[in-house]
Symmetry: C2
Subunit: 335 residues, 2 copies
């Protein structure tokens, strides 16, 4: 049976962190076993709001690739590629833009929220406004059926399905495939400051590449239950990121349950729990960091993996574009 195609990606605007691991990297490592998986380093998309900092984007292409490889995304099983080097993607984007109204783009809830968060107002770059269409092009170019996403990305999949249906209906074809969003079953990892989301630029992340010292410092300073003032006080486990991290990364479930119970009835200090979390995180991150350091010694080897992946991705996306042009009747020299 033909393997299903899965597509995911990351904007290379910084190194990846534990939140990425829990939210998507870990599932990609599984997905590659029984899917034809494409993982895209979305530099062109990052430039829709980082056009003024192209270096931040270009320098993080290698960093993100190192993160991928060090967590076990395997280039023999997964096609890792650089978005800006696949020329079919902007072409498909432009054809899709003819099939969506200006008005529809204005009402994408995720984009609306992001415009607000970034304080763009009316001065939002046009490239940023249309990025859902560009994402639709990414997804359809690879005929991805499975798109693992967070719930904030559901409007993008909805937009993609709309475009696929519109294209196929208008040009009386079935070349484009409707994708299905697969929602991550794991709760989002909070930041070390207790905020709901760990973010690259929020200063509340533990990166996959952090040194043991950095990790120790971050764990030591982690937010816990602010009501848990004395060791003997009962403490809260819900909304306490130290326990959320233990849930996510500790193998010894019995021990975690025991710690939780002890913490809740009082008599367990934050320091003790944090010491255990540090142990857990170090033993989880140590092999990743070692592998990353090893890979980082030979950047040209890593870039070559991206080069080869990009060749494969370009061929696949190029073929989809050819099929689209054939359906539109603008394949002048294809006969």
């Amino acid at each position: 049976m033909k393997k299903k195609i899965a597509l995911t990606g990351d904007r290379p605007t910084g190194k990846l962190h534990l939140g990425h691991y829990v939210g998507s990297l870990s599932s990609r490592v599984q997905i590659q076993e029984d899917h034809s998986q494409f993982v895209m380093i979305a530099d062109a998309q990052a430039l829709t709001d980082y056009a003024h900092e192209p270096k931040r984007v270009s320098e993080n292409v290698l960093e993100v690739a190192l993160d991928y490889l060090s967590v076990g995304i395997d280039p023999k099983k997964t096609t890792i590629f650089i978005q800006s080097l696949v020329p079919a993607l902007p072409e498909i984007t432009l054809y899709f833009l003819n099939l969506v109204t200006w008005n529809r783009l204005k009402h994408n809830p995720t984009v609306k929220l992001e415009i607000q968060q970034k304080g763009y107002g009316e001065e939002v770059p046009a490239g940023f406004m249309i990025y859902p269409v560009s994402q639709a092009a990414d997804i359809t170019a690879f005929k991805a059926e499975v798109v693992p996403v967070g719930d904030d990305q559901l409007p993008m999949i909805e937009q993609t399905v709309e475009l696929v249906r519109k294209f196929n209906r208008l040009y009386q074809t079935d070349v484009l495939i409707e994708p299905k969003a697969v929602l991550s079953s794991v709760a989002r990892l909070p930041g070390i400051d207790g905020k709901a989301k760990m973010g690259k630029s929020l200063g509340n992340a533990i990166f996959l590449s952090d040194s043991p010292d950095e990790i120790a410092k971050k764990v030591k300073g982690m937010y816990t239950d602010p009501g848990h003032l004395r060791v003997e006080d009962p403490g809260k486990v819900e909304g306490n990121p130290v326990f959320t991290y233990l849930d996510a990364f500790a193998f010894d479930r019995a021990k975690v349950e025991e710690l939780k119970a002890h913490y809740q009835r009082g008599g367990l200090g934050d320091g003790v729990v944090k010491k255990y979390l540090l142990e857990v995180l170090l033993s989880f991150l140590e092999p990743i960091r070692k592998r990353r350091e090893e890979l980082a010694k030979d950047p040209s080897h890593v870039m070559n993996i991206l080069f080869e992946g990009t060749k494969v991705a370009s061929a696949v996306a190029g073929e989809t574009l050819r099929e689209m042009k054939r359906s539109m009747g603008i394949d002048y020299f294809a006969h």
Copy 2:
């Protein structure tokens, strides 16, 4: 001295007519003598508002090429190419979209007017809203310095200059060239119905490919001075398309002046003037039509001219894109 680069183009949504000849084709025949000229068949742009009629676009690619060649645009001197086959153009468009605000696009006066004329309202296709950015990509991809345009296209050149300056400043480069609009010195040719503009889809055009019978019929039905009821009445020459056409196409200036004077003082019937105009148009259009018929016998020869031109155009635009990516620092594998 290096020849200046000129770029023009037409949307292939119909055959070309006398208005195109007067407004742009005739000047292209001259421009090719001392410029490096690119002429683009803008099928991708046509699809921004004809996405629902791709056949109308694709079928007119050949027709427009036949029109070009039959009026004397010479593929040895001019690179004629098909827009949709130059992959650098959509890529440059997307990078430019990051440098222009949504708000700026909304206020392009030409686009605003066209949205009104087409009755789009809020349902305007996003691809149509961004076509000025796509035009900026076309112009800059070829480093065109000279862009012959009608005055309705001035906002497009303005937008292009803005983008060129912004790109060069932001990425500290001088790879992109500011274009200059060259306004057509010739007044716009009215339609045979006396309306200000001859238009492909207005039903008031004489096409370069019209047969002598069609031309005779159209000239016979032409709008003249509605106050000129009897032969002996004085007639008006201004706003009378029969005389505007004579001004544009008759070689015998003395005869035209004589006819004008006679018409103005009375005693000259419309029929006589129209008979002379028909003679003039037939002798002007006859060689064009014959050449067109000859070329139309071998469409694959014409398509091959487009294929070769498109190869040249793709190489030039591809090189500009490479330079742009180098300035942005996203030329990962170029070293």
